[in-house]
Symmetry: D2
Subunit: 347 residues, 4 copies
């Protein structure tokens, strides 16, 4: 039995961070992870501990953040469950110190400056940041499985983006999409996707018995979808909605095909593209995924309905935003980076 | 003070029926309504009473259905909150007996046989049914306000249809929609829209923490949307979803414009079309309606976002499916039929 | 028709405040109310407006708080939907200026210093505060209906307290409770009871799919329950719980009787006590109230089950915390203060 | 590595049954389980399959029930996730055929005829049934850990009963409860506890935004609580409530102590009693368990608050009704029956 991997999580008290801590604690090839607060929390700003659900499961005590703590732990792989500004500032030093990094924020996902603008990064011309942006691998294993194993810095995809990209990639790769007519993703997410910070939008009374659209034509995840799928801004409309549920994403996508097709051909297209991919499930039409089916799993579930005219396609894509949309995908990326089976620690 | 209107409700125990009973009980121009069970319930099949929330508010006892009861009550206006099959069989006799009828089911909404097929009506060639189909007025006051006052039979619109038609009508009337690119309505509804009958789909555990699409390319409300908006089947995709909330509908609609427009022009288009309409609220962009805002009201709330290219439009339309989507709209229709102010009994 | 009453609401943007504004806007004997922000909001701290659901219903614009605004409006009755500290500071000046006041906070509910301690009032020896404390009438119409009509200052009861006091009062008045064995109220409330301020406890993800007890042996409403029912601390245990619903309270109460009784006797006790009381509904055993039944109404619903031994009684009491538990009860108090029917504006 | 255990589940499509199937599929010492429909389903009555969430995880196809299928699978341990009537009829034949059985229904939990009456068993005098009733071990590992290892028939406890018994057992064992004053358990459960059968009570619209008490003084789980804790009927009131959440139980218990105690003594009492028990977590006062903390785990979480008088105790006990309250506890019992670590397959 080889030595277990030494990992650390910065930001282990957030929704994604604690889900990640839970997965790492039970991963057969990973040593008990070092769990660190965010820098801002360490400075006394906030002081939440690990959720009480962690008691009794061998969870280590949460530590304040410090580079020294990371060194003493002999950390090999660092997970960042931090805001994107924090990730921008932490990654250069971490990589310089020889760590490999999986960053769950949006800090390093985007290659094109036009998309990075929405994050307000002012350093895209800085040498280091530009280099790292170039070097970072977008950690969607089903698309970039060849580059992730060797990456020093993996930019773990956004939750919405995961559900949208995995639904569209097979069709775009097959060249059967009529892009000129425009692709639409009407996406709906549970509230944990909005983070743990309490505000008027995440107050229970604002969310319960409600549904609302937000950030129409202006959501941060649009950039990574466009880049990964090589689409122009005019070819995609992405509309996120806030669902009155704690977790889970369902995207309903609308695509025009450039030729008349049969349902069995669409199904083949998906099954072929995802053949051998452990964490994508293709549903046989007309059965459609629902949020419940993929909840608490690392699956992305995909299904579709084709209009009688054979040209208009409705796709449904579901992920658990904290697993395949965040922590689960981060573990899947780790598995690829260390040559382990893609499902280790995720069943 | 003129004599109050004599009304009756068949099917007063269902979700729409009891909401209607509540509105009629407090309507200043309506006498205490006669509340009747459905025929099937009268025959002993089921025997639910009025919900306990009605106690203490002067609600009359629920009666078994009979034509005699309707006559003795001297009923002038009959509301049908019954399944469409029941409405098909009750309406001819009711009209022959001199009653005016507002039917909340889908029985008389559709003029075109192709759309009626989904309801399985086998009598579309029967003389009476054909005549009544012709005679029935689609009870959407904002579109058919001129014909409703004189109608003997008003076909109250479907809840989804109300949210979709009111969102699209101003744009189509203005001739600014590029129909060839296709219109999409991604609609989400609370569970009361699925009726009171318990089944696997309406079980709490199936709905809570979940979202699911259903009846893609095959929902019954598509026909009325197409007919009222004079669209072809190929010009609209309508995808309903089941939300984990008791009531409320939000439709997100996607429209391509046939020329570049400014937000202010779109807003003018809506404000002009709905000028003087009491129960439509147009939101100033970029504010968007949410389900909570119209809940427990008779409003249809409309808002929009226009892409920077001025050609791609996202609309959001919200109604309370039991009020503007059913019982409230029925009362609004009654108000028109008897020459009262449109808001009587609805505030 | 006499002139309509001039009212004002300070704190009209909170949950209780906006519910109150909605009721006053539709009250047949009340002029359009003056809606004011809280002082702290007026000073720029926060700037929420009225909820979007108010649009289109003739709701006046929200004004910053000032005594001048109140005078210019010729305000006769002032509602305070403010934190208790604010109510403590506003009431003396308001009364001195000739206004009558209904205060929805806990500022003036308690006569006994031992109970006031929990609010941290440091001024109980101040002459004005002591005088006003003495003068204030606890605004539970079913108990204090004789004193409310003449009150200058009505202390509107707490939501939990309303549900508990109304359940116990008839039994205690009848002298059939074995107090030595202790009374228990296991109470559950929706989240709006915790106020509109976002915090970790009211975050959707903390509340949804959850239930939690809090403030065991230390909730602020215990004092008013004890005072109104003339109980000692040792005779009552009150345990509040936070329910994953927006509004509504259900209290389950456990009482030992000091003699063997029959269900019909218990029912008589309740029906007698609440005879002629418009806003209490007594359920016939074994039917029990549920939160849904009283939601969006001003009712307090009461029901019970008696053990076979005739000595152990389980009571269930439900109110809508924003209506009978706050704004509705405030309107009921106003109706009493001005000699109107108790149900005016509440149906 | 010894051969893996051959297990089967009858009733694998219900909520408890499918949760059990999921646990067995991932249990390191258990072979892929044989999953069988209930007899009634096998006869064509219903035909639900395994939930779609099982796809892709190596879940075997659901089989119709037959004794032959059980034999061919060489089943050693049979789990019954069947209604109690079915369990009554299946167990004698299963035991006669040499199988060991863990029954998740209420069929074999009760020794005393007075409590069995509520289940309507008419065979308590039948020799076999009487013998098996005697032989069955109540499968609460924390209390009966010495007898479960040798049991042929384990009666898996009810979900409510688990939460109540584990909260009270340490106090009763220590002899510090004043039983004459009566113990109260005010318990609240998610909807999956009511089973998968759709009915008016489990309809989403009936449950959402609601809370209701039911079966006051008459719930089936009372018998097992009384028997296991050796209490009289008059010493306990148990009131179940239906929560608007899919899963989880919180019981709030009220106990009078027969002498004045300190919080630290109560905590010691619990910690001592549950020392070495893997699946009970005792919270340090004043922290209290919440439903979320034990959700998706096999823990029973216990916490308490003691009144200042040192004599009145409020306990809070939480379990996931499908895990520690059903399937998880069944696996824990299996682990004991085969001499494995209590946590195998449950982390």
């Amino acid at each position: 039995m080889p030595a277990k991997l030494k990992t650390a999580v910065i930001g282990a008290t957030g929704y994604s961070g604690s889900e990640l801590a839970r997965l790492l604690l039970h991963h057969p090839r990973v040593d008990t992870p070092l769990l660190l607060r965010r820098q801002s929390e360490t400075n006394g700003e906030k002081s939440a501990g690990m959720p009480p659900s962690f008691a009794g499961n061998g969870c280590p005590t949460l530590q304040p953040f410090s580079w020294t703590a990371l060194q003493q732990h002999e950390t090999e792989l660092l997970f960042l469950a931090t805001p994107h500004e924090a990730s921008r500032s932490l990654v250069p030093e971490a990589l310089a110190g020889g760590l490999r990094v999986i960053d769950l924020s949006g800090a390093w996902r985007l290659k094109q400056a036009q998309h990075r603008a929405i994050y307000g990064f002012r350093d895209e011309d800085a040498v280091t940041a530009a280099e790292l942006t170039e070097k970072a691998v977008y950690g969607l294993p089903e698309l970039n499985g060849d580059r992730i194993p060797h990456a020093a810095l993996v930019a773990n995809p956004g939750c919405y983006a995961t559900s949208v990209i995995l639904a569209l990639a097979p069709l775009l790769a097959a060249g059967i999409v009529d892009r000129k007519k425009g692709i639409i993703s009407d996406s709906k997410s549970g509230v944990s996707g909005a983070g743990k910070e309490p505000n008027a939008r995440t107050h229970f009374v604002s969310v319960a018995d409600n549904l609302s659209a937000y950030s129409v034509f202006g959501h941060r995840h649009v950039g990574e979808i466009l880049e990964q799928l090589d689409l122009n801004t005019s070819e995609l409309i992405f509309t996120p909605h806030l669902l009155p549920i704690p977790r889970g994403i369902l995207s309903t996508l609308y695509v025009h095909l450039n030729r008349e097709m049969k349902p069995v051909e669409i199904e083949s297209c998906f099954r072929g593209f995802y053949s051998g991919k452990r964490w994508v499930r293709v549903f046989a039409t007309p059965q459609l995924p629902e949020i419940q089916f993929s909840l608490h799993t690392n699956y992305c579930d995909l299904g579709f309905c084709l209009a009688e005219d054979g040209r208009r396609l409705v796709l449904v894509s579901c992920v658990d935003n904290l697993l395949k949309g965040a922590a689960g995908q981060a573990v899947q990326n780790m598995n690829l980076m260390y040559g382990w089976k893609e499902e280790e620690g995720l069943q």
